[in-house]
Amino acid sequence: MFQIQVLGDSREFRCGENTSLLSAMAKVGINCIPVGCRSGGCGVCKVRVLSGTFTAKVMSRKQVSVAEEANGMALACRIFPKSSMVVEVVEKKLKK
């Protein structure tokens, strides 16, 4: 299990390497990253990875371009940690 920190939020949570960041967050009742389709399509949970390593499943190119992905942008529902991570929410698209 790895420690996950969302910039600007004091509530850290833990995530195993077979669980998506978003799923691990939702399971413990934290809502610092907006939750949308949870399938890599809608882009609501877009984050910038500030530190840490991870693997990623395919994400909608409309939501995360090749250049963005190379710069550490990702959808939290599609990334699986390989270390502790710090991420930043890109856009608060949903009001809650």
């Binding site: 949308g36 389709c37 890599g40 399509g41 809608c42 609501v44 395919v58 909608s60 949903l94």
Partner: protein, 307 residues
């Protein structure tokens, strides 16, 4: 006035991984694979449908809807509706028979909402799946998952709802069954039908054109909707909302997402509509009750998560 558009015929949905999508639409929703083509598209149908396919899955790098099609009575109707669309000012694209396997020629146009629609008259008629047309049994015994009965409608988000309504009413003969109207009198959502169903297609106003909210599949009973909810948990499939009832159309419903983030609905029941019925109106300020009749509160995810 009805103009020979019979019903929704098919929807082509973009998915990011075709095998994951097939597991979802066949093993969970309960559609049946009926064909594949050289582009890699996969054709599916629900068991009560009489034609060869109603859902086409296309692998792409972003999800969403390519187009939705309506079946018309015959080729003469197709020809006259094509002329009417052009006279109305629509650009019409003619797509040759066979571009979709076992489907006749299609007439494609773009609505003011930004979405692409098609009309066609011919598709291979294979009959209901798993039951005979003579002395039919009640249902086939080897259905999977939610056992969806038919592809029913789509809800789409897009631009210029008034012009979209006018096109569907004046040219295609649809009837406005329900609407959501804001305090200034603007229609922000329309539920329109070419049949007795509460909606064959619905639109909600959105600043961005050509967005996909959901494709909906019909189930037989409320018990089936609850069983669908059980299956979502058993398969760890992301649920959106439900099981609940809509105010709009009064259908009993649950929403969830496919593995590419496209929203699906399975539902049962709901109101009926004849062309002489006045539209049912919901006030935009009561949208919570209109959409979620039990909670009576809006859910931002339902309104804003689109593909």
């Amino acid at each position: 006035m009805q103009k020979g558009v019979m019903r929704p015929g098919h929807v082509q949905i973009r998915v990011m991984n075709i095998e994951e999508a097939l597991d979802h639409y066949c093993n969970l929703v309960g559609l049946i694979e009926t064909d594949r083509d050289e582009q890699g598209r996969v054709y599916l149908k629900a068991w009560t449908e009489v034609d060869r396919f109603s859902v086409v899955l296309r692998e792409a790098d972003e999800p969403g809807m390519d187009f939705m099609a309506f079946k018309v009575l015959n080729d003469a109707v197709l020809e006259s509706l094509s002329a009417d669309l052009q006279a109305y000012g629509c650009d019409v694209e003619n797509i040759a028979a066979g571009e979709l396997n076992n489907c006749g020629r299609r007439v494609r146009f773009q609505a003011p909402s930004g979405h692409y629609f098609e009309l066609y008259a011919e598709k291979e008629r294979t009959g209901k799946w798993g039951v005979s047309n003579v002395n039919p049994e009640a249902w086939p015994r080897d259905l999977k998952g939610m056992k969806a009965e038919r592809f029913d409608h789509c809800l789409l988000y897009g631009t210029d709802i008034p012009a979209t309504l006018k096109l569907f009413e004046d040219v295609l003969g649809f009837s406005l069954a329900e609407q959501v109207v804001d305090p200034d009198g603007n229609r922000v959502a329309i539920f329109i039908t070419t049949s007795m169903k509460a909606h064959d297609i619905a639109f909600i106003d959105c600043p961005e054109p050509n967005k996909f909210h959901h494709a909906s599949f019909c189930l037989d009973t409320w018990d089936s909707v609850l069983r669908a909810a059980d299956l979502l948990t058993m398969t760890d499939t992301p649920k959106d909302i439900g099981p609940t009832r809509h105010g709009l159309t009064h259908g009993q419903t649950i929403y969830f997402f496919d593995p590419s983030g496209n929203r699906n609905e399975v539902f049962c029941g709901g109101d009926y509509h004849y062309p002489d019925h006045e539209p049912v109106t919901w006030k935009a300020e009561d949208l919570g009750k209109a959409i979620f009749y039990h909670d009576r509160e809006l859910n931002e995810r339902f309104l804003e998560v689109l593909t």
